[in-house]
Subunit: 685 residues, 2 copies
């Protein structure tokens, strides 16, 4: 099988002879790979000129639905991916993380895109900033998609997940991608891209694939492009210093494997649930994917007095691991990705043994169930122990990217912190404890060295997703050795492919450009009550100012009785006057917003279907008996739903008293039918 | 005057001979500068070991108040700074931007720190993420201060502002700084640092100063340090590629001057307010600070047909500019920072003249009022015009960092976009138009190439803070040529000096670590009603579950009458049932939250002083007549005020029906006295 690249909308076989790739279990040839002859500059232009504009014409919600369709399509083909995944040495469980975990990332981004982004082209970040005393000059941060291509350079260990966790945020942002999988397992990524392309769900130019080297690709990048790299620190640092990336300030994110640590608390001795959870987690991180995870636990930090107990318990659990062909019954750990990888891990273990003792497993003598022990890429779990970890650099610097972990004792909490920091920046760390003080000390002490930190205990152990699992809603990436980058983290990861721009201008104009009305000196009057307009007829900035209504003492008392809220500031003149913020009895805040609704609501059935919430309510001026209120009620933002005949409308609501002082301000959230003619309510009855 | 460095808490004079610095107006020697003999590694350690821990012991609010005290102190000394600033060639107006603008940044960060950050050590970013079906495993992003030093490398044009706009966010984050001002104007920065040190407001180690070169400083940095650079692209790119910065993933932000453009809309011909605003702004940007602003307008893009009119109007306005000694009456523009700078600008203007015509001013013949025309660094405003800007690269690439601007005609909006983009990334752009469509086309078209964009028109022109003014609440920095960095932007700029960490664990534990309670399966019961506890006595996670109350149809009708809200879903059974979300008449959402208050409020005077707002209210399940509600009310977050005997308490409020379905969820915001014993209300009466 000669792997192809997907270039400018065509599958292209390379001109030259390919590099052979071998099966991890039996050593047989699987595929050949080469990118010789590809015009990389043309790929960049195709992405920029064809893919980018097509994606940017879609709204965030349309792109989110595209991701969902893609995920559903890939799920239908999952068994094909599982079959091919065996060649990478993966067990079914390993492949599940890669294949279904990767597809799950698309589902997650589809959901987040629709829930947390507007159905529009501009993403609004934060609240508007008033920039002048008069309020006539305002600022609003927005994000716009970068207009170049995203180059994704992926690692060999998760050919599907690694590709999809980058594609989700990229496509949702509205940016086309050029994916370059690591050669060793590129056959699986290539197959998945074939299924993606066949589905016809993505617009032309949105996705291209390079099987083989990237040639002069990076020479064609500028400030509108982004490079997202996952892999070894050495390769990553080389790319980061590429003269074009530096000179053109090409956005560059790097995620490198790191020497992640997991800390057992002094309270978590044998017999505690935390002890058992710790042993289970260390073994899981050593054996899942044969330990070929950039997030795996490489350093197990345990209180010195617990070292023998932890060593024994780990040994007993590791004894049950069965290495071999994942297709065979009882096999719990497969093979590394290649013989070359086995050789590298062996060398690193030798380096580690200069300061550590091998306490479980042997790289030279181990059993393999099935597969080809000579030609397959097998290695057993290897547990080391370094008794004086503060005196040796290797244990904090040398990473054996396989089923390898080193036990490190610590003498007190400060030493645990110091040891964890010696990793000089990690993707993830974890702490197993049921002690709040120890947990907080560890989080504050090692937090700045980490991108993600778990505190595991009996309360969450059963539900924990695990030390080694990056999740789409949380950031993935860490400082220093881990590369200093950041991916995913929900919408944070989408913004990586967008430019933040601070817009300044009049509130009206900035509101119209950003798609969210900003209160300013000039409301747009509208003779038609906004409750009589469908979502498609409403325009942001349109609204009404209601009549005025007085609030009397007798009404405040009736409200107190009906609600049951007899707080003294509403009921007792003398006590209220003693309150530092009030001069006497005041109306309930809840009464103010209720009476405001009484003023702005148009009661008859119509396109407005329901009030589903309220946001950012603030009471600015107390309302005293005899004061009156009126309401400025303005359409602030519209979010039509792509597949429904209704959507969300956010209204700006400002309540003023008879002296035009602002009494309360808030956003009212409603569901509104698309059209006022389409009398949704009546017709469905 | 030999400038000193402030090293490890001591003022240190350099060992070697210094480089002389000259007065910009009369060429006389002002100071000598050298950093020879400084132990830069010891500076880094002093910052890390003395400054960092002292700052991190303070809360965000304490650090914010420290910034305010610093700003007030510096204001008292402002006239001294103004006097010294004249040597830089600045007019009083120029110095105001630098000195009072800089001090204003400290005030702004002090205010933002207290309003938008907790009075705690952990900054919470975004909402918690539920990570398991059972809800027992949760994620929360937090930010923690980096534990290294922030190295600030500043430009010569704004020695005060450039220093303070970086110091504000850095100190607020809790990170110590080492400031290295550009040599040419370091005497002003040094004077300001002397006043800062004398005030004794900052803890030891929080601030150090290097007057002169940085020697091997960067060799000592690691992933907990940050470098923030402002200056020329050439110097910046050199630093960015420094092997230690690359290898250790040292956080690096760069802000370089760029070829910013300002676009006049086709609608904004002579006679429109936008035309006049444009002419005024271009001239202001050319002459303020002698055009030595990284945000200045370098390229004025105007519709080709308006080119003559704009040229004439600019010429007439420029005719009124008086160059000379700022101390003399009538002088409106001072000198550049140095003769070397004058020489460089002259050379750049010559380069530009290869494709442009000089249409106003002459670098060789111009009048100077006062000062020393030969030894001072004078140059008049120079306006060029390039008739075919799409055919020439120089005009988009060569920056004359002085009172220089080039007029570029465009033929249609797409061409305006293309020309603006040719700058390959700018700090700021502006559009002068009263046309919504043109404004939106420009913002979407050039937005991704900019960090900040203004749309100026008659509505906001008078209140506009101007094209060239970075503001503390908005981001400053742009893609590509502008360096790809980002500073300020309110709290965004603070987070640059902190590490984002995704915490995972049980909701209870993560809530206690982060300082904000997260709803989970295990509420902490408390026999004392929380309204009876002062801020200092309350603990997050403590709360109550109220009794249950039924809501009947009669009460819904009374609520409708009292509030005036007779929306059909509450009043008309048939119409309500036709609504797609309801099965019949439902209680008002406003009634639900009012009745909930009736259940959780403890009415007698006590430490709870007022309800000042509500956040994130969502209605989850409709409440039908006959249903009942009960409320889980839990202390979520406490924000004591540093200088008051009260503070904010945020409560988590969840309303359930008789089937334990969630009816509504929201945060209640209250002001609470510090102590229940300190009966604030009663005592003050």
């Amino acid at each position: 099988m000669r792997l192809c690249s997907y270039v400018q909308g065509e599958w292209v076989e390379s001109a030259g002879a390919g590099t052979p790739l071998f099966h991890a279990i039996d050593g047989s040839p699987v595929a050949e790979i080469s990118s010789e002859g590809i015009d990389f500059g043309a790929m960049v232009r195709w992405g920029r000129e064809t893919g980018g504009p097509a994606l940017r014409r879609m709204t965030f919600h349309q792109r989110a639905l595209m991701l969902k369709a893609l995920a559903l399509h890939l799920l239908q083909h999952k068994e094909e991916f599982y079959r091919l995944s065996r060649a990478t040495g993966a067990t079914r469980d390993d492949s599940w993380i890669d294949i279904e975990g990767g597809i799950g990332t698309l589902f997650a981004y589809s959901g987040k895109g629709r829930r947390e982004m507007p159905n529009d082209h501009v993403y609004i970040d934060g609240a508007p900033e008033t920039l002048s005393r008069g309020g006539g000059f305002t600022g609003q941060h927005v994000y716009l998609p970068l207009e170049g291509v995203a180059v994704h350079i992926n690692a060999y260990n998760f050919p599907c997940w690694g590709m999809l966790e980058k594609l989700g945020p990229t496509l949702l942002a509205g940016m086309p991608a050029i994916v370059k999988p690591a050669s060793q397992t590129a056959y699986l990524a290539e197959r998945m891209v074939r299924r993606i392309v066949e589905a016809g769900i993505l617009p032309a130019g949105a996705l291209q694939l390079i099987c083989g080297g990237v040639g002069d690709l990076l020479d064609h990048l500028d400030c509108q492009d982004a490079v997202t790299f996952t892999g070894s620190a050495t390769t990553g640092l080389g790319l980061k210093q590429h003269p074009v990336i530096v000179a053109n300030a090409v956005r560059f994110t790097m995620e490198a494997d790191s020497l992640n640590s997991s800390i057992l608390g002094p309270d978590a001795g044998p017999g505690t649930p935390e002890f058992d959870l710790y042993v289970e987690e260390v073994v899981r991180e050593m054996t899942t994917k044969c330990g070929q995870k950039c997030t795996a636990i490489r350093r197990a930090l345990v209180p010195r007095e617990l070292l023998p107990a932890v060593g024994d318990a780990l040994g007993k659990t590791l004894d049950r691991v069965v290495v071999g062909d994942p297709d065979l019954e009882g096999v719990t750990m497969g093979a590394l990705a290649s013989r070359a990888q086995v050789q590298e891990v062996r060398e690193r273990v030798e380096q580690l043994r200069r300061c550590s003792e091998l306490v479980h497993g042997s790289p030279d003598r181990f059993e393999v169930r099935g597969g080809d022990p000579q030609r397959g890429a097998f290695l057993p779990p290897l547990l080391l122990r370094c008794d004086e970890p503060l005196r040796h650099r290797e244990v904090h610097e040398v990473e054996a990217f396989g089923p390898v972990c080193t036990l490190l004792p610590y003498d007190d909490p400060a030493q645990a912190v110091e040891l964890a920091r010696r990793g000089r920046g990690s993707l993830v760390g974890s702490v197993f404890t049921f002690d709040d003080d120890f947990a907080r000390e560890m989080v504050l002490g090692i937090g700045p060295w980490h991108g993600r930190l778990l505190v595991i205990d009996r309360e969450c152990g059963a539900e924990s997703t695990g030390h080694g699992s990056p999740l789409p809603s949380l950031i993935h990436g860490g400082p220093g050795r881990a590369g200093g980058g950041q991916e995913m983290g929900g919408i944070r990861g989408v913004l990586h492919y967008m430019q933040c721009v601070a817009l300044q201008g009049s509130p009206g104009r900035i509101g119209r450009i950003s798609g969210r009305w900003i209160p300013g000196p000039d409301p747009v009057p509208d003779p038609v009550h906004p409750f009589r307009k469908g979502l498609d007829e409403l325009e942001i900035g349109q609204g009404i100012v209601t009549r005025s209504r007085a609030i009397g003492l007798e009404e405040i008392e009736r409200f107190a009785e009906l609600s049951g809220d007899r707080f003294y500031a509403h009921m007792d003149a003398q006590a209220a006057a003693a309150n530092p913020f009030f001069e006497g009895r005041v109306a309930h805040g809840y009464f103010i917003v209720s009476a405001a609704a009484g003023l702005f609501v148009d009661p008859a059935p119509g396109p407005v279907l329901a009030n589903y919430g309220l946001e950012n309510l603030r009471f600015h001026t107390p309302l005293y008996p005899g004061d009156s209120i009126r309401v400025a009620f303005t359409c602030k933002q519209k979010t039509p739903r792509e597949n429904e005949d209704y959507g969300e409308v956010r209204w700006d609501c400002r309540v003023f008293n008879q002296r035009d002082e602002l009494v309360a301000s808030y956003d009212v959230l409603t569901l509104v039918a698309r059209s006022s003619g389409d009398r949704l309510a009546a017709e469905r009855a």
